[in-house]
């Protein structure tokens, strides 16, 4: 008694875990969480974004306390993903063996009593012998693209058999995706290098993310050169950088990269993720100085203090020129001095200022991810699965029992849920076609049975 109770409980839990209803509930929660995560700025987008979006620290702290600023790392989201994974495994265990068995046994002819027990079946009498009925069915179904197999008084008709792979492939994709993400979490590392020409930085010192089992090689990256290419109107067209990669002993590799053309060395991808003019070089009274630029709403700006009561302001908004202003102590507004191109000088001023050159900074993102190809394989499975959703998986069983005299009783049925509506229409049409073929003007005598499970 105890055993039967526990087995019924485990059966109930098993059917709950493998139910499509649970899938739908989990998907609905994931949709809601994704919308929240998309609409509320996330911590992964940078703290500056969070601060700029919330006028007060109080509202920011409320949103943070609710967990809305890290939705995709929050436990409800991860729990839903885990739940979906469990649901998927349970579905696979509950349904896949039966489906595979059916697939392997393509010519699983069924007797009329078995056809009657299928998910949807229809039965009707016909004034014709069984051979005549099966012959007609053979021709009718073959003309509609079905593959026909007849054995004795039963027949199987199949069409679009690749369609059954849609769900298994998509679900396999989800499992492989989780595997890929897990490998990435454990073994990947990534970071960003902000380099000016001639700068050298170590990969291990610029990490933003590192998996607990990731091995980061002792490599240094030197920016040999960088440049920007512009359209005729001055809009940026492309950014290029040339890097030299070295270990502690010697230079190992050098190569160029640009946006959308990454550089790969020893499993590490280097991408041109950013490029900007970071500073302006001046000669002030023949002394070389660099003025770092800061981001402003309509460009970039830098300030050079010339003396206690004088400051030089340079504004850069793209293009070859910079605008130079002078700010005197006590003055409300800075005074515009000149538009300068590299090599030009301000001479009508007590201090000689020569605009030497702009100093670009290249943003290089680097990443090593051994799980990437596993993830890509998963995405491929997703895509194939989603295409196969459109391919109907049609399989119809027929059985014809001899009746009195020249009459016979025909049984048609199908199982499966993917194309249930299409299949119901098919059964209806086949039945109508057979009746109009054999009955001519005689009254119809069909019985439709539905065995919903």
């Amino acid at each position: 008694m105890k055993l039967s109770k526990s087995s019924s409980v485990s059966g109930y839990i098993g059917s709950c875990l493998s139910s499509v209803r649970l899938t739908l509930v989990l998907i609905a929660i994931l949709v809601v969480l994704s919308i929240v995560g998309a609409c509320v700025p996330q911590i992964s987008q940078g703290e500056s974004r969070l601060l700029s979006d919330y006028s007060s620290n109080q509202s920011l702290s409320i949103v943070q306390a609710l967990g809305f600023t890290d939705v995709f790392g929050s436990w409800p989201f991860l729990l839903c993903i885990a739940g979906l994974f469990v649901n998927l495994i349970a579905c696979t265990i509950a349904r896949m063996p039966e489906r595979i068995r059916r697939r392997l046994n393509q010519d699983d002819h069924l007797a009329s009593s078995q056809v009657a027990k299928l998910r949807q079946s229809v039965s009707f009498g016909l004034p014709c012998r069984t051979t005549g009925v099966l012959e007609y069915l053979h021709g009718y179904m073959e003309a509609r693209g079905y593959k026909v197999s007849i054995r004795g008084n039963s027949a199987v008709f199949r069409k679009g058999k690749a369609g059954w792979l849609a769900a298994p492939l998509t679900h396999l994709g989800l499992v492989v995706l989780l595997l890929g993400v897990m490998i990435s979490m454990l073994f990947s590392y990534s970071g960003v290098l902000y380099l000016k020409e001639g700068d050298i930085e170590c990969i291990s010192g610029s990490l933003e993310q590192k998996g607990p089992l990731a091995h980061v090689p002792e490599l240094s990256v030197k920016l040999l050169s960088t440049k920007s290419e512009s359209y005729a109107g001055g809009e940026p067209k492309q950014w290029f950088s040339t890097l030299a990669i070295a270990n502690t002993a010697k230079q190992l590799f050098s190569g160029s990269l640009s946006v959308n053309s990454p550089l790969t060395f020893d499993g590490i991808d280097f991408c041109q993720s950013d490029w900007k003019i970071a500073a302006i070089a001046f000669s002030v009274n023949s002394r070389y100085v660099k003025v770092p630029l800061s981001d402003m709403p309509h460009g970039r700006m830098g300030v050079l203090r010339l003396s206690d009561d004088l400051a030089l302001i340079c504004a850069y908004a793209g293009g070859p020129h910079i605008r130079v202003y002078l700010k005197e102590q006590g003055a409300t507004h800075p005074r515009f001095l000149a538009n300068l191109a590299p090599g030009q000088k301000i001479s009508n001023f007590p201090i000689s200022i020569l605009y030497e050159k702009e100093l670009p900074q290249s943003g290089i993102k680097f990443k090593s991810d051994p799980g990437l190809w596993v993830t890509y394989t998963a995405l491929l499975f997703f895509f194939l699965g989603s295409i196969l959703v459109a391919v109907p998986d049609l399989k119809i069983w027929a059985a014809v029992d001899p009746g009195e005299g020249d009459a016979s009783q025909c049984w048609l049925g199908f199982s499966g849920v993917k194309s249930a509506r299409i299949m119901r229409d098919h059964l209806r049409r086949i039945e109508q076609a057979m009746k109009s073929q054999f009955y001519e003007d005689k009254p119809e005598r069909g019985v439709v049975m539905s065995n919903e499970r």
Partner: protein, 330 residues
């Protein structure tokens, strides 16, 4: 007037005429079938005109014309007409033609309101100079077009199933969302008001859901022939669009890894595309349940449409930012 503008204007006017023709023909269904056929021909003419305008623009710009909002809207209307061409045999052509012509006309109206600077061919920013742009963007826009058709047909399904209140609420929610996107694009109201309007629209859709589950279920839905036909069109539309959306998201991940060194960054648009994908995955799972009614499926398709609008245009114009704000007027 240049060739591209001529084709665009011809397409815009023909879609508008087609809408009125379909509307009149729908009102007198049995008597004016010839008028419906004329509407079909007008929409096919519109399809040809948009195709030619895209071709002329591509030749002029020397690149595939999906690089800014204007071009994406042209391509979107092309996708809507493609959906009509592929699906029209499945439904009473009049209804589908009416919905398509109205949608295309509104898209043209929206595109024509964009500032001239945004309608011109502009040089591509470095991130967009890639072959991935041609692979990633068109399938997504075409999938959005098919999802729009499926959502509109879903509202028609509610109406034909005598779920009139649900249909009206859905229509209101859709109108509010579309109006807020229009206002947000043209910056005719403050960002806060536009956001409020959009979220109010989504709230109205929640009212539609409540009505669907509590008030209108007291009487079972009427299964008319139109119900079955709209359900079939909705399914076919989603079955075509879902692989395109999947392909678009996957190629987007490939491109992001190629350009930024990360295939998924939980950017708002990425997150929303996931939500949209999941909603249509839910539709397909719901469809797999044989006991599921057509009106439940329609509700799922309609909610999917709202998410599609939020994914396609919402993020650029509701000020939610992200890496995909290429069409932003600011």
């Amino acid at each position: 007037m240049n060739a591209e503008a001529t084709f665009v204007n011809a397409a815009g006017f023909s879609s508008l005429f087609a809408f009125w023709i379909f509307a009149i023909a729908s009102a007198f269904q049995s008597r004016l079938r010839a008028l419906g056929a004329a509407g079909v021909h007008l929409l096919i003419f519109c399809f040809v005109c948009i195709s030619l305008s895209l071709l002329v623009r591509a030749l002029g710009a020397d690149r595939f014309p999906v690089a800014n909002l204007y071009e994406s809207l042209l391509f979107f209307s092309w996708g809507l007409l493609l959906a009509f061409v592929l699906l029209r045999n499945q439904i009473s052509t009049l209804y589908l033609g009416c919905l398509t012509a109205l949608s295309v006309s509104l898209v043209f109206l929206y595109a024509s309101w964009l500032p001239p600077g945004l309608q011109e061919v502009r040089p591509l920013m470095p991130a967009l100079v890639s072959f991935w742009r041609v692979i990633h963007v068109p399938p997504l826009i075409v999938s959005y077009a098919f999802f729009l058709i499926s959502g509109l047909v879903a509202i028609l399904n509610f109406w034909s199933a005598r779920r009139r209140l649900t249909a009206i609420c859905c229509l209101m929610a859709l109108t509010l969302c579309v109006v807020s996107v229009f206002l947000g694009t043209l910056k005719l109201a403050s960002a806060q008001s536009i956001n409020l309007l959009f979220w109010f629209g989504l709230t109205v859709s929640l009212v539609a859901i409540t009505l669907f589950f509590h008030m209108e279920t007291k009487s079972p839905p009427v299964a008319t022939e139109l119900c079955e036909v709209t359900d079939a069109v909705c399914q076919k539309s989603i079955t075509i669009a879902f692989p395109l959306l999947t392909f678009g998201i996957i190629t987007g991940a490939f491109w992001a890894n190629h350009a930024w060194g990360a295939y998924w960054t939980w950017d708002p648009k990425e997150s929303m595309s996931l939500a949209t994908w999941l909603s249509y995955a839910a539709y397909l799972h719901l469809r797999a349940r044989d006991d599921c009614r057509t009106d439940s499926l329609s509700l799922c398709a309609f909610l999917g449409l709202l998410l599609t609008i939020l994914t396609y245009l919402g993020f650029t114009f509701l000020g939610l930012g992200g890496l995909h704000t290429y069409g932003n007027l600011a």
